[in-house]
Symmetry: C3
Subunit: 340 residues, 3 copies
Amino acid sequence: MTCTAAELAQYLEAKIEGDPHVPLAGVASPERARAEDLIYVQSARHAALAVHSAARCAIAPRETRLAADKTIIQAANPKLAFAKAAAWLLQKSGPAPGIHASAVVSASAKVAPSASIGPCVVIEDEVEIGDATAIGAFCFLGRGAHVGEHCRLHPRVTLYAGVRLGHRVELHSGVVLGADGFGYVFGEGRHWKFPQIGGVEIGDDVEIGANTTIDRGSLDDTRIGPGVKIDNLVQVAHNVRIGQDSVIAAQTGISGSCTLGANVVAGGQVGIGDHCTIEDGAMLGGQAGILNGKTIRAGQIVWGTPARPLAKFKEQFALASRLPDFAARLRKLEQSRAED
Amino acid sequence: MTCTAAELAQYLEAKIEGDPHVPLAGVASPERARAEDLIYVQSARHAALAVHSAARCAIAPRETRLAADKTIIQAANPKLAFAKAAAWLLQKSGPAPGIHASAVVSASAKVAPSASIGPCVVIEDEVEIGDATAIGAFCFLGRGAHVGEHCRLHPRVTLYAGVRLGHRVELHSGVVLGADGFGYVFGEGRHWKFPQIGGVEIGDDVEIGANTTIDRGSLDDTRIGPGVKIDNLVQVAHNVRIGQDSVIAAQTGISGSCTLGANVVAGGQVGIGDHCTIEDGAMLGGQAGILNGKTIRAGQIVWGTPARPLAKFKEQFALASRLPDFAARLRKLEQSRAED
Amino acid sequence: MTCTAAELAQYLEAKIEGDPHVPLAGVASPERARAEDLIYVQSARHAALAVHSAARCAIAPRETRLAADKTIIQAANPKLAFAKAAAWLLQKSGPAPGIHASAVVSASAKVAPSASIGPCVVIEDEVEIGDATAIGAFCFLGRGAHVGEHCRLHPRVTLYAGVRLGHRVELHSGVVLGADGFGYVFGEGRHWKFPQIGGVEIGDDVEIGANTTIDRGSLDDTRIGPGVKIDNLVQVAHNVRIGQDSVIAAQTGISGSCTLGANVVAGGQVGIGDHCTIEDGAMLGGQAGILNGKTIRAGQIVWGTPARPLAKFKEQFALASRLPDFAARLRKLEQSRAED
């Protein structure tokens, strides 16, 4: 869509300085921006680039001074205002409603007329798809899967039977939801599969990155709370619960029956053993390893394997760096003692 | 299927206590169970839940006492008996035999009449598919691939040319078997690809998790032994051999030309360097890192990077936690010495 | 193709010893080779196997002595010569040009007549595909994607809108290029998505392994330089730059806005925090973790988390193994002191 700087400022409830009639049609970095792109200034480096940018309008802190011909929309947190502005400016109508001729859709599926079903999509019996949802090419929706309204499934997403998505859920290409959890009982000389018949429930406003896998529960459900954001290539095992607005970075693995609270942040490649509890707002540093059954307290920041409080990790790491020094001093003391 | 408690007890060769006519139609957790669901009791916590469960029949240790109206099937290992019971109760007939109209099947492929080929499946020349095997939507079976009997390929599995599966193999969505191994020779200013023309052989009763990748051998084969269970997002490189009944947890990576014995257990996110030997029954703790060329002896339990025996790792970790104390004591000794 | 040993030697500009008329039709390991397969001898172990191999021709160092009936093509680096020979001997014509009847191709897409478009491929508006490129089954090429000449996309690759590939690019099954980067701004009680509208540019001669994901830039582009080789299940985040001929092993994760120089080597499961700089020729050991914002100098070899120079890591690790000894010696000194 297109708007004026004044209209955007009104939407953001922000003050404006300069020409309010500057037209806006997109967002960009200062270097790439064309005249009608909005840019933002968060740092001195940004400001220097903004001065030379072709963009005519910038979101910036109140005190920012750019060239006289730039329009400034004032924001205490320019990056936040820019993200909001981008969501507003770049809102798309989505693909046209309707079912592509090559899609294979069960007669018992209920697809909202406003939904868009792409080419080569397979939709099994009793699937339900809500209003204004777009299903990309090669998506597979197994029997009884339920997709809410305004969802976007990019091409090549698999929902196993019975998986349930809330509203405004975005799943990137290669996501697999609801595969069997990894549970066996060894006996009589072989692995017997423990039943993996629970469900997967994905809350509203969840986004899940490319090639991420979330297994179905064994007897209960795997549940991802509203607003959770999950990056690419993440593994979420059976019966895991993740609380509202938590953020899980790429290649992290969460083992079976873990409970993560709200607003937890997991860095990349974190490994969480089974039956762990990660309380609200805890932060797990990249590559941290949480041992089976452990609890990380609310708000705690941990790092390392096994994970420990960040301050403790840093202290130990600093001392480990001094081990050669310790060894030398110990030897010196021993020699000195021997000479007594 | 449906049966009575007595019929199930007979199948399990177990004693029964209470009403033998209780009908059973499924399995569940105590909290979710309906009257006709089987539950199991392994712990005191389970027992407390079982008392209040709607389920009328439980698998439990001999000494268990539940409410008088519950039927108990006695088992020394209730979880194992429950897994066996679930496999029996939940056995499904699978999708109907036949080839979906949208599948693209080469005239030279041999598909057993009892096999089920889902929508949008692509089957190339000279592929063979055995009895009662089900191939899900969007699966790709490259030229000459061979799939045994009673296999299940969930939607969106790729078998590169020539990949061979045994019987009763289950592959989850997104699995890629037989992509080129990662091998190059640098010379004359560029990377030359080392030939990756070996095969992939998957033994009977193997299960492989979502989005896991197993590369073809370079000149020889990559081989996964019978009964092996592999979790999601695991990487198995060219020429790897994995022995019978080994279990590989999520996001583990096994580098080229490694040999794993039988009954090896690898925790999540383990990294194994190339040309390693992991002998029978060894256990690799989560996130452990095995250096190139190393051997882990039969039955050994290792952890850390570089991996060392668990007891040694724990001792070192405990001592590392005491480094601040060591540093203080060393300083004190030096001061005391200086004052002499 | 088929040639004689003499023709191959001429192609390799190498000397030949023995019968120059030996026909060659493939490559193999010594154990598997048939008479017309080329083998190579790099080590004493190879030589012992080569003697008993059915192969009649081997690439070997000058001084190698095999059985009298073997033809030897002399090479200072037999593995390199073998890789070059294999590329020459195994060159295939690729699938026949043309568009499979089941493909869904936009009228505005430009597909070279010599390109091959497999079954169930979806090609959106304004996509361009160059000469002699092969697109496998179930590939999705989003609006405006651009694929160069002589590329090979194995089945089930996703290119989001606008992704650009150079020439001779090979993408393995499950690769996802151009999904949204993982960037949010938290404010007013929710995560706002930072715009992810940059592109992905893949240079000439790049190969990318199965199920690897490379995100689009946020406001700028994500760029993979020419000759880069990326293994399976690797994560490359938004705005990352990777320089020419770098090699990234499986399951490595590269966070947002990192810059890797030319000829960088990353082992498996390496984690690189955001905004890092890895200079030309640096080597990152398996599972190494580079903290946010760090620089690794050209040619440096690092290991561990946090990553440090290899020699330092080894020294610290050796000393950590001696901590029990240190603790005992410290105690002894204290006791001795106490007895003074």
